[in-house]
């Protein structure tokens, strides 16, 4: 083969389709691959109200999306394959997602998917077909820093689309082989390119975040999944208590609640109440006022460093830290601990709803220093 081809992860959406088309336009040899991750017909309880299996596009691995990706591949004249990672996706993404929820944490499956599927299994599949590089439609930038010799992960030029929050787990080896052609572009420019190249998906809507959970209903998904697995969850119903320990009412299962949640408590009180904590051991959901949600310190575990090599025990560095995707990164100090995988984070000002299980990503301006999981 004359030049190492680039494997493009094609979801059938406008972003990854445009990536494939741009690379072809630039004269690169491209192989398109769509990952089949989850069978939407698997949990019949989750079928849409209109009847039948959920099949709307924007859902993970819907046949409509595969159809769209195949059509784009045909249009730009590249070989195209659907690769089956359902087994790995269930093991590395769906199972941990369910387990984390049951353990009272609020997981982010997209990061797990990036770490274990997209930038691991997919990269290996790229290797298999002789492609050294892989490209995706993520909004982020990769740059080799000559001074440190490290690959840096930079925020996207289009701040509103930046996806570095979900990419904090990428290793140097993965970054070395990854192309994010959209990192330098704004979304409207991407649509313009797609339109100018007459891609069939140019005006397709954006996909939702957690692809395998229809309508964002985690509790319904988990109930259906656990039922399919034949797992009977012990009744996790229990008490709803205040921070002072006063019982306000009962709930139907701790996994229906996440820190910061206001709706669905079923309690009428004068002032708004929020979930402060969930405890699967005692099956208690603690609620309180907005002030009770404020906190300025937490520990991040399983930290992955990207743009710097690490933080010695006791060493500190100033950063801006993002504790969920929609959070505006807030100034904080990172301190290295005796355990190299753990970092203590102290915010300059208290932040609302620091939620165990979510990712915490450290930035120095546009540079992603690294990130970990909120303990």
């Amino acid at each position: 083969m004359p030049e190492s081809p680039i494997a493009v992860a094609m979801s059938g959406g406008v972003d990854s389709s445009t990536v494939a088309a741009m690379l072809v336009r630039d004269g690169r040899t491209v192989v398109g691959m769509t990952m089949q991750l989850w069978n939407q017909r698997r949990l019949p309880e989750l079928a849409s109200a209109e009847g039948g299996a959920p099949s709307g596009s924007g859902r993970c691995c819907s046949l409509d999306d595969v159809y769209d990706a195949r059509r784009v591949a045909e249009q730009i004249g590249i070989p195209y394959y659907v690769v089956n990672f359902e087994r790995q996706f269930e093991e590395h993404v769906v199972k941990p997602f369910v387990e984390e929820y049951l353990a009272g944490r609020t997981p982010i499956p997209c990061t797990l998917c990036n770490n274990y599927i997209k930038f691991d299994r997919f990269l290996e599949m790229a290797d298999s077909v002789g492609a050294h590089y892989m490209a995706t439609g993520h909004y982020a930038r990769v740059r080799l820093d000559p001074a440190s010799g490290r690959y840096q992960l930079l925020r996207a030029v289009d701040e509103s689309k930046d996806q570095t929050y979900f990419l904090f787990g990428l290793t140097q080896a993965q970054l070395a082989r990854t192309l994010f052609p959209l990192g330098e572009l704004h979304k409207p420019e991407v649509r313009d390119i797609a339109r100018s190249m007459r891609l069939a998906v140019a005006s397709k809507g954006d996909s939702q975040e957690i692809c395998f959970v229809p309508n964002g209903d985690y509790a319904a998904f988990m109930d259906a999944y656990l039922k399919e697995k034949g797992v009977t969850v012990e009744r996790t119903s229990g008490e709803i208590v205040t921070t002072e320990g006063r019982t306000l009412g009962h709930h139907e299962g701790v996994h229906h609640f996440t820190v910061g949640q206001r709706k669905g408590l079923g309690i009428a009180t004068g002032e708004p109440l929020y979930v402060i904590a969930t405890d699967p051991a005692s099956q208690r959901v603690t609620v309180g006022g907005n002030d009770d949600l404020q906190s300025s310190r937490f520990v991040a575990k399983q930290v992955n460093w990207i743009s710097i090599a690490g933080l010695a025990p006791g060493a500190t560095v100033r950063a801006q830290v993002k504790i969920r995707n929609k959070h505006a990164a807030a100034p904080a100090t990172l301190s290295g601990t005796a355990d190299a995988d753990r970092v203590e984070v102290r915010f300059l000002h208290p932040q609302r709803a620091i939620t165990p299980g979510q990712g915490a990503v450290f930035y120095d301006g546009e540079i992603t220093l690294g990130g970990g999981w909120i303990e």
């Binding site: 769509t34 089949q36 691995c61 595969v66 394959y81 659907v82 290996e124 298999s128 077909v129 002789g130």
Partner: protein
């Protein structure tokens, strides 16, 4: 890049001679075979000529052939039709774990309708034991459905013996003959089958046409309703160009059978021996005897079959593994798992199925490509 086709059990190219029949039929014979006029009669003649050609290939009478839309419909008609025509209650049906989904799914449907289904296990040879069938038979067994040749392994089932056993117990025998037809001589009389499913596109005819052999006297309830075509056994205006092509392909198969069989077996053995000699950690799945001449299923320990299919395709060689699901992704083969392969080895297995256009030179370059792909995949693989 030149592309070479080694996936003839999936489908075959239309033979030029067969293509001529399709084109002439499509262009000139446009009458409805049910019409009484000149045009209808011309179509009817082509239809009945094809019926005789297909019947001749399997040593049946023309009146025992029902044309269908393909192998899947033939299997559905046989299994659902026979069981539903029987007034016995309770009813019992026997099949086996390496059948094609076009047999397993209608059997499952019968199960949902209250029929008892026994799905026999199959040993690592990929050959069903007639003794297992004898043991599974019950007084209420109405049907035994066993394939003639397995699509993934190529292994041949002892049909004649199974027919004797089934008939002794008063059960009918349906055979899915889709992979066997055209690849080896089929004689429904000496095999003693009651129902035999066939598909045109596996023997160089176009897709969309197949047939069911129904031994005279076999009763089937229809699975579709609409007209009196095919002697009230399968309604719908006949696909005359497709059926005529199937007939031509059947005649061609009879003519080429001896030569094809010998040549393809030689090429298949050349491929198999070269792979086994040169690449360590490989072996043949299922029996190497009692097998279709054109098929081999080989495992390559430590590789991911899906990756290898893609890698070989990018080098210009079309092969297959497992079964494609609706998205086009591959899922692990139920056949390989049924004969006892571990998930890992099932995923590391590939099917090569040869056909008329393949030559020794093609096989040699395929072997080269396999060697290079396996070496590359083993070098990079961390997950296998």
């Amino acid at each position: 890049m030149q592309h070479f086709y080694f996936d003839h059990n999936a489908t075959t190219p239309v033979d030029p001679e067969v293509l001529e029949t399709v084109v002439s039929c499509l262009g000139q014979v446009y009458g409805n075979a049910s019409s009484i006029h000149h045009f209808g009669q011309a179509a009817k003649q082509r239809l009945e000529a094809a019926r005789r050609q297909v019947a001749t290939l399997i040593n049946a009478s023309a009146s025992e052939i029902v044309f269908t839309s393909g192998g899947t419909e033939a299997n559905n008609l046989a299994i659902l039709g026979l069981s539903r025509a029987s007034s016995a209650a309770p009813k019992h049906v026997i099949t086996c774990a390496i059948e094609h989904p076009a047999v397993l799914s209608p059997a499952k449907q019968l199960g949902a309708e209250g029929c008892e289904i026994t799905c026999l296990r199959v040993p690592s040879s990929g050959i069903v034991s007639p003794e297992d069938i004898r043991r599974a038979l019950r007084p209420e067994t109405v049907l035994v459905s066993i394939m003639h040749a397995n699509n993934e392994l190529g292994t041949l089932q002892p049909i004649a013996e199974i027919a004797r056993i089934a008939h002794q117990a008063g059960a009918a025998l349906h055979v899915d003959g889709v992979q066997a037809l055209g690849k080896l001589p089929v004689d429904v009389q000496s095999l003693g089958v009651d129902l035999y499913s066939m598909s045109g596109h596996k023997l160089y005819a176009p897709k969309g046409v197949g047939a069911l052999y129904m031994r005279k006297g076999t009763r089937l309830a229809p699975i579709m309703y609409g007209g009196h075509h095919e002697r009230d056994r399968r309604p719908g205006t006949e696909n005359v160009p497709g059926i005529a092509a199937f007939g031509a392909a059947a005649e061609l198969a009879a003519r080429c059978m001896a030569e094809d069989t010998e040549r393809l077996a030689m090429l298949r053995d050349r491929l198999e021996n070269a792979v086994l000699d040169r690449i360590p950690g490989t072996g043949v799945n299922g029996s190497r005897w009692n097998r279709l001449p054109n098929t081999t299923n080989i495992y390559f320990d430590g590789i991911d079959g899906e990756a290898m299919v893609i890698a070989l395709d990018l080098r210009g060689f079309a092969v297959s593994t497992g079964a494609a699901c609706s998205s086009g992704a591959l899922s692990p083969s139920h056949v390989l798992k049924a004969i006892g392969l571990s998930d890992l080895r099932a995923r590391a297995s590939m099917r090569f199925s040869l056909g008329r256009a393949n030559t020794a030179a093609h096989v040699d370059s395929l072997v080269e490509a396999i060697g290079a792909s396996v070496a590359h995949l083993r070098r990079i693989s961390v997950h296998a």
